[in-house]
């Protein structure tokens, strides 16, 4: 199992959720985060000078999926979250050793 952790634009969150659902990836956990990308935020023109906005609102999605599903999940997120502009975000894949459904108390490795 892997955890797919994606940091995306808030305004794309809805679309990502829909696309994931359509392909059967329903379960996920989401949270509001702030992020700074390698581009160091956004440069705003400001009275001759410029101003940098460091931290921008992002949504972090965590999805735990079977190893063989990972690639598909990444594809779905990538295609539905992309705008092609700076700030589209990143996806990281982290190993998960075990998963327990609290309701059933059942473990799966």
């Amino acid at each position: 199992m892997k955890m797919i952790m994606a940091v995306i634009r808030p305004e794309r969150f809805e679309k990502v959720m829909e696309e994931l659902e359509r392909e059967g990836f329903i379960a996920l956990t989401a949270s509001e985060v702030k992020g700074r990308g390698e581009q160091k935020g956004i440069k705003l023109q400001f009275r001759g000078g410029t101003m940098e906005v460091d931290l921008l609102d992002k949504v972090k999605i965590e999805i735990v999926a079977e190893d063989e599903e990972v690639e598909r999940v990444i594809e779905i997120i990538t295609s539905s979250a992309r705008t092609g502009k700076i700030g589209d975000g990143k996806i990281f894949v982290i190993p998960v050793e075990m998963s327990v459904r609290i309701r059933k108390g059942k473990m799966s490795a």
Partner: protein, 399 residues
């Protein structure tokens, strides 16, 4: 006729109440925008208040209420208010009338923010606001209340259905077309970020509207009492009507309920001194349904008149102007409407409302176009993306 302390007390407090409506509009709107534009949206209301206040004292009052020049505009006798002093006007000090009317001018500009919310450049809004209040509001106020040509025509507008609501609502529509949709409008949801804030705004508006309408009697008397109770009744009927209309189509949202209340308040505004409580029930209920439909229409068309000043104030004001011509009852305010057989009044109302619609649309398009060419009305794409709070004010609403 000397100054009457009771009437003066009522006008002083009415002025304060209407003043409170301007930040009230700010909160009403502010709750409906995205978090990143909350400070901007509320601030534009305060800014409208500040710039109109200064403009009004310097020239606005004189343009609107100075001696009539050809039915079009007031003269410059009252520039700087310096000639007014402590003299009276009827049973109240002249200066309290100036202040009372000032609060109307201020809120009208604040309503307009709906059309440019979440994308307007702060500096351009200031220029636009000054031009708009001078070239649209002041002449309209003069036409209807200052002895201008619509007053001559016999059109009734007790507290500003035409001057305040039609003018701001249709101007918001005009400017929304000119500035263009918010980026992403229609593609992803733009949920209201703080509904309780909108409800607080509604509370202040409902409260202040008693000063708006009952204060327009310019006296603490039976007419003011009538205006107050019909105002409350129309607000309630509007809230219930919109609630049920939207319930029929889906969930009865709280935003629908309070939008209906505002719609009822808008519609009763021109009629408050002319109709009785039962008529106000009808006026308010119909306003709730009509304005709700106008909102659906706007959304279906994909128009981004973002906070529905057009649907609620524009269409609500239009309906109110016409309703005044229908329901006016002689025993209340001295005039009869259509249901009492007076077609003339009905026609006068339609002419006045129609003229205001056209004047507001045309003049606003011209002003907005000029400002856009000179300074650019809209922020850059990146500024819009990070939000106006950071890009225009260097602030975040919530830490």
């Amino acid at each position: 006729m000397g100054v009457e302390s009771g009437d003066t007390a009522w006008l002083l407090i009415s002025t304060a109440m209407v003043l409170l409506m301007t930040p009230g509009v700010g909160l009403f709107y502010g709750g409906m925008v995205r978090k990143k534009n909350a400070v901007s949206t509320i601030s534009l209301s305060f800014l409208a208040l500040a710039i109109v206040s200064v403009q009004w004292v310097l020239v606005g009052y004189s343009l609107a209420f100075g001696s009539d020049v050809n039915g079009i505009i007031g003269n410059l006798d009252f520039v700087g208010l310096s000639e007014i002093g402590l003299e009276e006007l009827g049973t109240i000090p002249h200066l309290v009338f100036v202040a009372f009317q000032l609060t109307f001018a201020a809120i009208t500009l604040a309503i307009l923010v709906s059309g440019v919310a979440e994308r307007v450049k702060l500096s351009s809004f200031i220029v636009l606001g000054l031009l708009w209040t001078t070239l649209v509001y002041d002449p309209l106020a003069h036409w209807v209340w200052g002895g201008g040509w619509l007053a001559e025509l016999g059109a009734l507008d007790f507290a500003g259905g035409t001057v305040v609501h039609i003018s701001s609502g249709f101007s918001a529509l005009a400017i929304a077309f000119l500035i263009g949709k918010r980026r992403g409008y229609g593609e992803h949801s733009m949920e209201p970020h703080n509904i309780p804030m909108t409800l607080i705004g509604t509370a202040l508006l409902w409260f202040g509207w008693f000063g708006f309408n009952a204060g327009s009697a310019l006296s603490a008397n039976g007419l003011a009492a009538n205006a107050l109770i019909v105002t409350n009744t129309a607000a309630s009927a509007g809230a219930i009507a919109w609630l049920f209309a939207s319930w029929y189509h889906g969930k009865p949202s709280s935003l629908g309920m309070v939008s209906g209340a505002i719609a009822g308040l808008v519609a009763i505004t021109p009629a408050a001194g002319f109709v009785d409580p039962l008529a106000s029930l009808a006026i308010g209920a119909v306003a709730g349904v009509i304005c709700y439909s106008a909102m659906l229409f706007r959304i279906n068309r994909g128009w981004d008149e973002s906070l529905d000043a057009w649907a609620v104030h524009g269409i609500g004001g239009l309906w109110g102007a016409i309703a005044t011509g229908i329901f006016a009852k002689e025993s209340v305010g001295g005039y009869s409407g259509l249901i009492y057989g007076n077609v003339n009044q009905f026609v006068a109302q339609i002419i006045a409302a129609g003229s205001a619609v056209i004047y507001a649309l045309v003049m606003t398009l011209i002003i907005a176009k000029v400002v856009d060419l000179l300074f650019g009305l809209r922020v850059s794409e990146e500024e819009e993306y990070v939000g106006l709070d950071i890009s225009q004010h260097g602030e975040k609403a919530y830490a």
